[in-house]
Symmetry: C2
Subunit: 332 residues, 2 copies
């Protein structure tokens, strides 16, 4: 059941509903083709998981096998992703605060943590694990019976690149994956519990102030959407978004470079499975360039300068020198 909309957090910017359509609707391809978000109903994309993957079944089958990536927070539930490679590269060169940490642990250990009552603890956990060959025969057999034909048809028709992985996400109620974008197409399948998803068009890049590309939180917004610092990030007030609430069985298409914030709603644990695809090759470039082209271009420039200068202090200074007092945004 979708949570009563009136109990959801109220943001200071408009959010219009994301369209919901049936898997059989002829309009579906338009959304995918135009890279517009849509909630697909009735696809049964991850049918066996929907039927069986509750916490008991998962614990039974995963409990003692391999180690799982679990993000953890303390005192808050903002699970801001960070890139461990960039943390290592920047060691000693730059100070930064990471709002979450990542541990590897047995599935059992994760379950033990999330089953402690939330009242009385201030640490929270979020399992984010690629589905790989450590899952054992039962889960693997469920996985093989996902609707791969449908996946192949869509990604083939849309000329997406290869499927890179499937993530298994299990979160506590209240967990938030704060607003960020990915460089991949994403079919986000809700399996258990409910999630609220906020999405923003790639043209809102300037209103969401992502970290520099060299930063471990690259692709994440610096802005806390629930408490934006408008003196640092004034354009947040011009943000306009879309939203949906996903229930088990729903599949949200999150187009590449679209910003998204994903919130696990009360009262249940949330379970989701993602299908990530590389970007397809670009056939034709038309002018003016699209917002996604521009974001890709900005990323390349930032990577190039990071490669050339190496030191974040110098990278910051040089970018500022290019712009300050020289390039001006026109008033809109």
């Amino acid at each position: 059941m979708v949570e009563d909309i009136s109990t959801l957090y109220t943001y200071n910017f408009p959010l219009i509903p994301i369209s919901r359509i049936s898997v059989d609707s002829p309009e579906l391809k338009d959304y995918l083709y135009k890279e517009l978000p849509v909630v697909i109903e009735g696809s049964n994309l991850v049918g066996p998981a929907l039927e069986k993957w509750d916490l008991g079944y998962l614990t039974e089958n995963l409990g003692d096998r391999g180690l799982y990536n679990v993000m953890q927070t303390k005192g808050h539930q903002m699970f801001k992703y960070f890139d461990q490679n960039k943390v290592t590269q920047l060691k000693g060169k730059m100070e930064f605060v990471l709002e979450a940490s990542t541990d590897e642990m047995k599935f059992q250990e994760f379950v033990k943590r999330i089953q402690l009552p939330q009242r009385g603890r201030d640490t929270y956990s979020y399992l984010q694990q690629p589905l790989n060959d450590t899952v054992g025969p039962n889960i693997f057999s469920d996985f093989r019976r996902f609707n791969w034909e449908l996946v192949k048809r869509w990604s083939g028709d849309m000329k997406w690149g290869s499927l890179t992985n499937n993530m298994l996400l299990i979160g506590e109620p209240g967990n938030i994956t704060p607003v960020h974008y990915d460089e991949q197409q994403n079919l986000f399948c809700q399996v258990g519990g409910e999630k609220r998803c906020l999405l923003f068009h790639p043209r809102h890049f300037d209103k969401l102030y992502p970290y520099p590309v060299y930063h471990p939180c690259d692709r994440q917004s610096k802005v806390n959407l629930r408490a934006p610092d408008l003196s640092l990030y004034p354009l947040v007030s011009q943000l306009e978004g879309m939203e949906c609430v996903l229930s088990p069985g729903d599949v949200l298409y999150i187009p590449i470079y679209w910003w998204h914030q994903i919130e696990s709603l009360e009262p249940d644990l949330t379970t989701s499975i993602t299908f990530w695809f590389k970007a397809g090759s670009i056939d034709t470039i038309s002018f003016p360039l699209s917002a996604t082209h521009k974001v890709a271009m900005m990323r390349n420039i930032e990577k190039m300068l990071t490669e050339a200068l190496k030191d974040p202090k110098e990278i910051n200074e040089l970018f500022c020198n290019i712009v300050e007092g020289r390039y001006f945004k026109e008033e809109k």
Copy 2:
């Protein structure tokens, strides 16, 4: 005679004297090699011009030959260079004000204009003409007797690129070529009258706020050094420069990417000849990158984005989007 230093305009930033050394000094090569400005005395680099090229002789020999480029201003004497190709490219896409215009005219016509008393007119002229094959036999013979051996020795030792051209500059007293940088090495030879030259290290790029690379005034500072708008260009107050006054026979080495402003002093016409050389090839890059490397890199990034986006509005916006709220200069 060097003008009394106390009568020179007083700037709001420190200016230390540029070293003067004899052409025979063994230190000369250090300055050239380290790309540090220096006034070279006694070189006789343009000896025949020094002996003969007064206005009478030039008029006699150039008067009726070919057309000469003459920059003109009205109501002020700031001869800010602009690139006519970029004016054409940007037509209809962007508004900009050019502070000077360029005409082609016979040498005689130029002389007529500058010989009118300055009192009673508000237009000013500055001849800036590459010395080419229209100059006639006498001037050409003088030109051939410049000290080419010395020029070749220096440019060879320093591994500069090829000599691109020699400019003949004839200015009225009070004319100013406002602060800018060139992408070439420059041996600036004073032939008649006196010029005050202000120079700034390439690391002052951020304090001099050059126009965007796509702008017709590319490589020029947006700042009027005599009336800086500190609200738009706050770092001007941190500028530190060097200066010299050139008399006939002096040769100023202006290193590539060094900022320079050149002022024709009272009371005489000023005549100068420049030798411009392409940059040499870079053998080794060492870290941290030098200020000149960084300027070259910034120019390449700006050119790339200009090429990709074409529309100045989009270029401005994208550069601002990369930086604003994302990259921060550290306080010094």
